[in-house]
């Protein structure tokens, strides 16, 4: 230590000063890995959710980790102008916004067979000319089965197949439902929903609540639904549950789009005081007035393989100015998880999906 300057009278000694040199970066470093969750093993990260989907549905490289079986559609959204007083988002104004959409089945299995009661989703990317886009993934169930992401993770894990039987263990789901009465109520609502014959005449609900910000800055919590113009037909049992039937929801949709454009109305429900905004498992009263904000027209189908809906996420927090998140915790979790899913699947080799280009344009080479 001879080479170092001597201690100065009245100041801490060299050992203490050396300790400070080491301790300050050390504390900062510990804080950093703390922020990364190293000291919170129970933190629910994006990777936790990816592992959960993999535990339930297996690993399917290149596919979305949830809603893996799907098909691209395109069209446009034309506003009615009736929501302009609720939200200043430009797509509610007098413009026509191109849309890239995706219909899918819930679940992480990209080759699962279609069946009437499986949850169907519509994802939309509405792109007004000024670039203020709105993305959403909405589902044909009336409420979300759980209240938050931690419950979602436990609930989803409860549906994982038992290695002995290859099927979900009813005792596991039973235990969850017993301790979560709100999930029991939500499942009852989901099970009693009308099941339509296909994607084209189905209603898709936001489930989550968002805030609409008006031109003068007033915020209104809202939920919304895409309500079909196509006549609602009850689902009928298919005689053929084998080869031809396994993609029947998608092949029916392809046929319907080949016949004529399909239309849905964007019905906005503003909340009234007391409506549960932060809890997607609770429905809002069905008596709430709705606003017909405009018409979604879809007129073309495309396979995911090479199609326009594959290389991005339907991140529900890609919002235009005029729409913001509410206290509902689910969209943030979906946003974070979708980004992780995109990173994973984009780095993987993707085999052809269930709905191939040849199914959409027979005769064309794929």
């Amino acid at each position: 230590m001879k080479m170092l300057p001597d201690d100065r009278p009245g100041e801490p000694g060299i050992v203490f000063r050396l300790a400070v040199v080491g301790a300050v970066p050390l504390v900062l470093g510990l804080a950093f890995i703390g922020a990364a969750g190293w000291f919170s093993p129970h933190r629910l990260t994006q990777s936790t959710l990816m592992n959960t989907f993999q535990a339930v549905d297996g690993l399917h490289p290149g596919f979305r980790r949830n809603h893996a079986k799907g098909m691209c559609v395109t069209g446009w959204f034309e506003s009615s102008g009736q929501a302009m007083h609720l939200s200043r988002a430009t797509l509610f104004g007098p413009v026509r916004s191109p849309v890239i959409g995706r219909f899918a089945l819930a679940g992480g299995m990209p080759y699962q067979n279609d069946a009437p009661a499986k949850v169907r989703s519509m994802a939309l990317r509405i792109m007004p000319p000024d670039g203020a886009e709105w993305r959403m993934g909405i589902n044909d169930i009336p409420v979300f089965p759980v209240r938050n992401v931690s419950e979602f993770n436990t609930f989803t894990l409860a549906t994982r197949p038992d290695p002995r039987t290859g099927k979900p263990d009813p005792a596991r789901m039973g235990a969850f439902v017993t301790t979560h009465p709100e999930t029991a109520q939500a499942i009852a609502l989901i099970k009693s929903r009308p099941i339509t014959s296909g994607f084209a005449n189905d209603t898709y609900n936001s489930l989550d609540s968002f805030l609409f910000v008006s031109p003068n800055g007033t915020t209104t919590p809202v939920r919304w639904a895409m309500v079909p113009e196509q006549a609602r037909q009850q689902s009928e049992p298919r005689p053929d549950e084998t080869h031809d039937g396994r993609d029947y929801l998608f092949t029916d949709l392809i046929a319907a789009l080949a016949r004529a454009p399909l239309r849905w109305h964007l019905m906005i429900t503003p909340a009234e005081p007391g409506d549960p905004v932060a809890d997607p498992a609770l429905p809002w009263p069905s008596s709430r007035p709705q606003i017909d904000a405009g018409v979604l027209t879809l007129n073309a189908a495309e396979s995911e393989d090479g199609g326009p809906c594959t290389n991005f996420t339907y991140d529900p927090l890609v919002l235009p100015s005029g729409i913001t998140p509410s206290d509902d915790p689910i969209p943030a979790a979906r946003s974070a998880a979708y980004a992780r899913s995109l990173t994973l699947r984009s780095g993987e080799h993707k085999p052809p999906g269930a709905i191939t280009p040849a199914m959409i344009r027979p005769g064309e080479k794929t």
Partner: protein, 184 residues
């Protein structure tokens, strides 16, 4: 190198302002990347404009560094230490500029809108390409860790100068008092 003993006033202000901004950015980033909680959206909405602000300030700072030479390192420092100091500064500048560009490029490649605030967006700077998105997303993480590690070393070295070596290095960036030696 010049004979002045302190960094220029602008260099000192930018150094401390950006120190706060970059550390905030690193902590926000590492938390954001490992949470599915409600803070995710708020933090991401902060992360984008703060990153672009750092990019702009880093360009101002680089220009200032090239125009106004920094004070010479003390002669008591061995050449290897001087080289390490210079090397770490080059790395810090490179990362301050590269990290926001990678973030911006990553969002562009992933087909995300690069929202600053309200309705103000930045244009994409790379083509939509999911493989590029995945690569840049991983690069963004690894370079963030490298940046944080470099900052820790930089901090440890600065404290070593301040508390042990007691040479002119620490006051050249820390002192804001007006001294006669500032005068030309």
């Amino acid at each position: 190198m010049s004979t002045s003993i302190r960094f220029s006033g602008l260099a000192r202000i930018l150094h401390w302002l950006m120190a706060v901004m970059i550390l905030t950015m690193l902590f926000v980033g590492v938390f954001m990347a490992t949470t599915t909680g409600p803070a995710y959206y708020t933090l991401l909405s902060l992360h984008r404009p703060l990153g672009i602000a750092i990019l702009l300030l880093a360009l101002v700072r680089l220009t200032n560094r090239l125009l106004v030479p920094p004070p010479s390192l003390p002669d008591t420092m061995p050449p290897l230490q001087k080289a390490a100091a210079l090397g770490s500064h080059v790395l810090l500048y490179a990362l301050m500029i590269a990290m926001p560009l990678i973030g911006w490029g990553m969002l562009s490649a992933g087909n995300y809108p690069v929202i600053m605030w309200g309705g103000f967006h930045l244009p994409p700077i790379l083509p939509h390409n999911p493989v590029l998105f995945a690569t840049l997303r991983h690069l963004h993480t690894w370079l963030a860790i490298l940046l944080f590690a470099t900052i820790l070393l930089h901090l440890a070295a600065a404290l070593l100068h301040a508390l042990i070596l007691r040479d002119s290095v620490w006051p050249s960036m820390v002192s804001f008092r007006r001294t006669e030696r500032d005068l030309p």
